[in-house]
């Protein structure tokens, strides 16, 4: 039933596979092009771009499993491959540093901030789209503007606010400030989803005596689960990615998040740190890449939803 009721916002499947009739034009006219020409104009540039886009990850992964002597001797060993991979760097990372703790901090902050933001955004988005209280349009516009305020002009005053509230160097400093980045985005995204739910459904429920709260939890939310997933994973990614607030508001080693900890705790001018540094970057990216692999379509939908009006 949900499929028929909700025309997909940006139809992420279509963006990924191009299976809709509108996207199939290439199939319709591509017979006009011969293979050699396609090789030069299509496959060659595409593979160069893909190579450049993926090379840093290959390099990251390779460095993480190379033995130290091979990392630093480029003349005797071919730098592009290794025949004796080692898990020494990853082992060292996981058992001799605070890395698991940092991962846990990042996870805790990301999940709490995301959950808080989604709850606030669902309520706000529903109220703006469906309650249409006085001035709802203006509030919607203001939220879009809030989306355009970048963290790098806010971190200085926020640092003093965080200090005043006594949150400095606690996870709450991040859990409470990240929603300012996430709420505008997810409210905007969810407003788009809520608009696609037929109003008649809500009218029926109102006539049957449902309260607004019941309508929200029993009708609107179940129908917007794809939107909620998109908002959730995108917010989670943004939290995991956030750097400047975490850098400014946290000071003790045990409280840091992965990005900040890697930059501050691993960089001490020691050239033998490269292996563990890359291992740290690799392990820190994996949770997001795995999440991404499972929810590609939702990511695309969140991204395209974000730039849609």
């Amino acid at each position: 039933m949900t499929e028929t009721l909700i025309p997909k916002l940006a139809d992420p499947k279509q963006v990924l596979t191009g299976s809709s009739p509108a996207a199939d034009h290439s199939e319709g006219m591509s017979y006009l092009e011969k293979l050699p020409r396609r090789l030069i104009t299509l496959y060659l540039p595409l593979s160069i771009i893909l190579l450049v886009l993926l090379f840093p990850f290959y390099w990251m992964a390779l460095t993480a499993i190379k033995p130290d002597e091979q990392l630093l001797d480029l003349e005797r060993f071919n730098p592009f491959w290794t025949w004796n991979p080692t898990f020494k760097h990853i082992y060292k990372l996981l058992f001799e540093t605070y890395y698991p703790l940092w991962l846990w901090n990042t996870m805790l902050v990301a999940v709490s901030a995301t959950v808080l933001s989604i709850i606030a955004s669902v309520l706000a988005g529903y109220a703006i789209v469906r309650l249409r209280y006085k001035g709802a349009q203006w509030v919607g516009g203001a939220i879009f503007l809030a989306y355009l305020v970048p963290p790098s002009i806010l971190f200085i005053p926020l640092a003093s606010v965080v200090f005043q509230y006594g949150l400095f160097d606690t996870p709450f400093a991040l859990i409470l400030t990240y929603p300012t980045i996430l709420i505008p985005f997810s409210t905007w995204l969810l407003m788009g989803y809520f608009k696609t739910i037929p109003f008649e459904l809500e009218e029926c429920a109102l006539i049957d005596g449902a309260s607004r709260w019941q309508i929200l939890t029993k009708i609107v939310l179940p129908l917007s689960i794809p939107g909620l997933i998109s908002a959730f994973i995108f917010c989670f990614t943004l939290c995991w990615n956030e750097f400047i607030y975490a850098l400014t508001f946290l000071s003790s080693t045990q409280n840091k998040t992965v990005p900040v900890a890697i930059v501050n705790e691993f960089v001490d001018g020691d050239i033998y740190r490269w292996g563990s540094l890359m291992a740290g970057a690799l392990v820190g990216s994996l949770p997001l890449v795995i999440l991404y692999a499972f929810f590609v379509e939702h990511y695309v939908s969140a991204m395209t939803g974000a730039v849609k009006e």
Partner: protein, 317 residues
Amino acid sequence: MTDVAVNSARPSPRSITAWQKLKTNRDWLGFWFMLPAAAFLILFLAYPLGLGVWLSFTDAKIGRSGVFIGVENYEWLWGDSVFWLSVFNTLLYTSVASAVKFAVGLYLALLLNENLPFKAMLRAIVLIPFIVPTVLSAIAFWWIYDAQFSIISWSLRHLGLISGNIDFLGDIWHARWAVIFANIWRGVPFVAITLLAGLQTVSPSLYEAATIDGANRWQIFRYVTYPLLTPIIAVVMTFSVLFTFTDFQLIWVLTRGGPVNATQLMATLSYQRAILGGQLGEGAAISTAMIPFLLAAILISWFGLQRRKWQQGESND
């Protein structure tokens, strides 16, 4: 008897409790629904934004709330060559990176829109640089740009193109191009995938009609695809310019603003002065000075690129 029935079924206005009012009046209900989001945004966004502007007019330092000193911070910045260098760097960084991101992103979107084998997988792979946290991929770039062990220097040396290693992050212009390249690398997937979503809304019959009329590939792109794409380009580029202009992470990981402030952006400079140097007021003044640039960037990309809605088949407004 009838009175009682009527009364119980329909309570008189006076007996409406506050709770019932709250449940039915949409303005009140709207207020309660908005409360959590509004609380966050006012406490941690609107208030700090105002506070930042106020701080820029004070001589606040870390651990000491300042007193009002008028525009002294701005006067000091006006005569500060490092500040002007950071403005120049920021403008260079933003304009070059955004222009290339747009060109490569659009090109990649057009390529991905073709009929390809493993289409879905290719498109999913393209997005990976966008998913991986910027700091972590910046660290990979840091290693790639290493002065001694750079793989780029190694490859070029073995191809016989250069004789010595390139000092990517130690030389002024090398460092600038290096951070710009890393920023482009990070931003292209976002531009490409969002523009691809826009490309797929273009009806194939338009391409067929243009082909029958004898248009070549460039003409099809210039007179069919591009005009239909301008609204989404405007939005995507607004975001892209905004986030490039305020970039902090990439620079901080790769160069921390060095060598000799050659890659110092306004964001990194304000961090250095305010948090590391303790001069909150001065740092806040640098942040506040970014606002007019941001507004200008938003307005230019928004109004400059946005076309009227009739091009999308909607009524004009």
